[in-house]
Amino acid sequence: MTATVLPMTLVDRTEELGEELDRLRSEVIAMRGADDARYIRTVIAVQRGLEAGGRLALAVSLMPPAWCAGTAMLTVAKILENMELGHNVLHGQWDWMGDPAIHSTTWEWDFASPADAWKRTHNHLHHTYTNVVGRDRDLGYTILRMSPEQPWRPVHLLQPLYAALLAPVFEWGIALYDLEADSVVAGRKSVRSFLGEIANLGRKAVRQSAKDYVLFPLLAGPSALPCLLGNLTANGLRNIWAHTVIFCGHFPSDVRTFTEDDIDGESRGQWYLRQIQGSANFGGGFLLHVLSGNLGHQIEHHLFPDLPSNRYDEIAPRVRRLCGKYGVPYVTGPLWRQYLSMWGRVVRHALP
């Protein structure tokens, strides 16, 4: 991790940067309209179509081509559902449409963690305290050590191993993490609400597992086993992909971390600045961005988490120009490089 030292002039101009970003935000809000609505509805239609198609193909997946097609369709459907739909709808990016069917308060997603639990730990804690050691629970998910500010313990020697093992079961890791068991131990959360959340997660876990691992395989009759394997594969690939995208958003080595003192009395401009310094982009084409929920534009997403994701690509060059103008590093690179850089950091901080 490199704690980039900012030129002094930047500190004075932080509020100016904040105002420019505020203006950019207002511009996008004024532009939002029918095209954006059509975009999200198209993604929804494609996602549900792929899911239905994938399920149908897996119902006859004794035939190998049907298994391949079905698993591929279901994998893409689940990825779209989590990344471009679930994550972004739950951020309230589409609440402006006033459509109760596409709204952060009504949406539930095909991911183990219930939407309510996720909205609290992700939208509130992670997006407010981005990369603040001790506050941002996303940072290292409390079990990983990702910065020298975190005390080293011998168990961290194993972190490359368990970071890798987490990938295929990522959704369950997130679901457990969203329960915030450590907060109960620390007395920040009541046992009663903890038990309530466990019950919510349990109910959702039963339905999620029943669908993928019991009901659809049973309906597939003679294709039960390949159908089960197809569903397992789709969930696993989706988990690995989500793990990759999310780890590449905040953990490449040029991304800064912050201390709680850094954010004491933080202004709006300083908050924006921290979001830029605490996030990393990765480049790619339209398809890569859609499949990653536009989180390749992690910097833009962290600056404006409530703007429709389809607009990030459009404002990215302008954000980058602003960063150049104010001398703020804008971390970006191809996905593979960010991925390797992220693993480099995991391995480096496994050691004292």
Binding site: R55, D95, G98, K211, L219, P305, D306
Partner: protein
């Protein structure tokens, strides 16, 4: 005559009646979505969770009013004559909701419903629905509501006092009465409109009054004859004390009716009133003071200065407000707006429609408002 006809290829599907238990079972396969989410994607009319209807015809009534014929979908639960319906229209990607009186007969064959809308030139939704929404447009429909309804059976004698578009719920009741066989109640209608050419349903009302013996119609054109006065009601309907009264129109008309009744000592319980609120209030000037916020469910009210967020106002008044990041990011603080408008403290923009979910941490009051919390 419909001004437009539906293209022949337009689907005329009747929604299938799927038993609830089948849908609940399918829900285990579509979880976390419901089968309804897939049905709605195939055809919005098939959704029960988000009831919708399709405009099948638009009939101009006057220069600035039209009747929309709407074929409701699976989620539509029916209505009583005189009720109004919340209608959602999509404009520039965002849904906007308004309420309109239903003018059709509830058990009419075919099940189509009609609403008659007068365009408010300052408004956003009504001009669109009156002048621009083509047949085929899908509208969302809320549940029909309101207690301004035709009783079943109706009382023997009825008096309707209406003005302007206040005729719309009464037109629904008259059509319902006209469509029934058997004895109809004795009805007097005092309706005011600015001019003959601006009078909704003028030909139909005149035709009905000529055709049926039970309806007496008094049309009043206020540009020439002036507005209805307290004395006019007694002069035009001498036996009003023997009648149950329905009044619908602008506040001025309702005041006249109430004053007349108080003056005449007619029991207020015989009066049914529906008021049409004036359309969107003018946008307040920037820098204007805040307003009084009522927290509906908590039963608390508090003064909220212009620069203070609704979240802070609620919390200092002891209301258990949902909250999150307090920065307008996480949408953890959403609360439905019941009435009034709010100002975005970040942009100064004034917005808010009844039912809209408000981010209370970044919005302040602009005039009196009610929140459902």
């Amino acid at each position: 005559m419909p001004a437009f006809a539906l293209p022949f290829w337009f689907p005329r599907l009747r929604p299938p009646a799927l038993p609830g238990r089948v849908l609940a079972g399918l829900g285990w396969l579509t979880t976390p979505l419901s089968p309804d989410d897939y049905l709605g994607l195939v055809d919005p009319l098939l959704s029960a969770r988000h009831p919708a209807g399709v405009v099948t015809a638009v009939r101009p009534e006057t220069a600035d009013a039209s009747t929309l014929v709407i074929r409701p979908g699976r989620g539509w639960a029916g209505y009583r004559s005189g009720q109004y319906v919340p209608v959602g229209a999509e404009l520039d990607g965002a849904w906007h909701w308004r309420t309109y009186s239903l003018t059709s007969v509830p058990d009419a064959p075919g099940g189509d419903v009609t609403i008659t809308i007068k365009a408010d030139p300052r408004g956003k939704v009504s001009p669109y629905l009156v002048h621009r929404a083509p047949p085929g447009t899908v509208l969302r429909l809320g549940p029909a509501q309101g207690e301004f309804v035709l009783p079943d059976p109706p009382p023997a004698r009825m008096l309707f006092v209406t003005a302007g578009s206040g005729i719309t719920p009464v037109m629904g009741m008259l059509r319902t009465l006209a469509g029934r066989s058997g004895p109809a109640p004795d009805v007097v209608l005092l309706h005011s409109a600015p001019r003959p050419d601006a009078c909704l349903f003028r030909a139909e009302l005149a035709g009905l009054a000529a055709r049926v013996p039970w309806l007496r119609l008094h049309l009043r054109y206020t540009r020439t004859a002036g507005r209805l006065t307290v004395g006019d009601i007694g002069a035009l309907c001498p036996d009003r004390r023997a009648r149950e009264i329905w009044a619908c129109g602008p506040a001025g008309l309702l005041d006249v009716v109430r004053e007349h009744l108080a003056w005449r000592n007619v029991a207020q319980e015989r009066l049914h009133v529906e008021s049409f609120r004036p359309a969107a209030p003018p946008a307040p000037a920037v820098g204007e003071s805040g307003g009084r916020v009522r927290f509906g469910r908590s039963g608390v009210a508090a003064e909220s200065p212009a620069s203070v967020s609704l979240l802070e106002t609620g919390e200092s008044a002891g209301v258990p407000m949902p909250y999150g990041c307090r920065r307008g990011i996480c949408f953890g603080c959403l609360v439905p707006l019941v009435d009034g408008r709010v100002r975005d403290l970040r942009t100064g923009g004034v917005h808010g429609e009844p039912g809209e979910l408000i981010q209370t941490c970044v919005n302040g009051a602009t005039g009196p408002l009610v929140l459902d919390v």
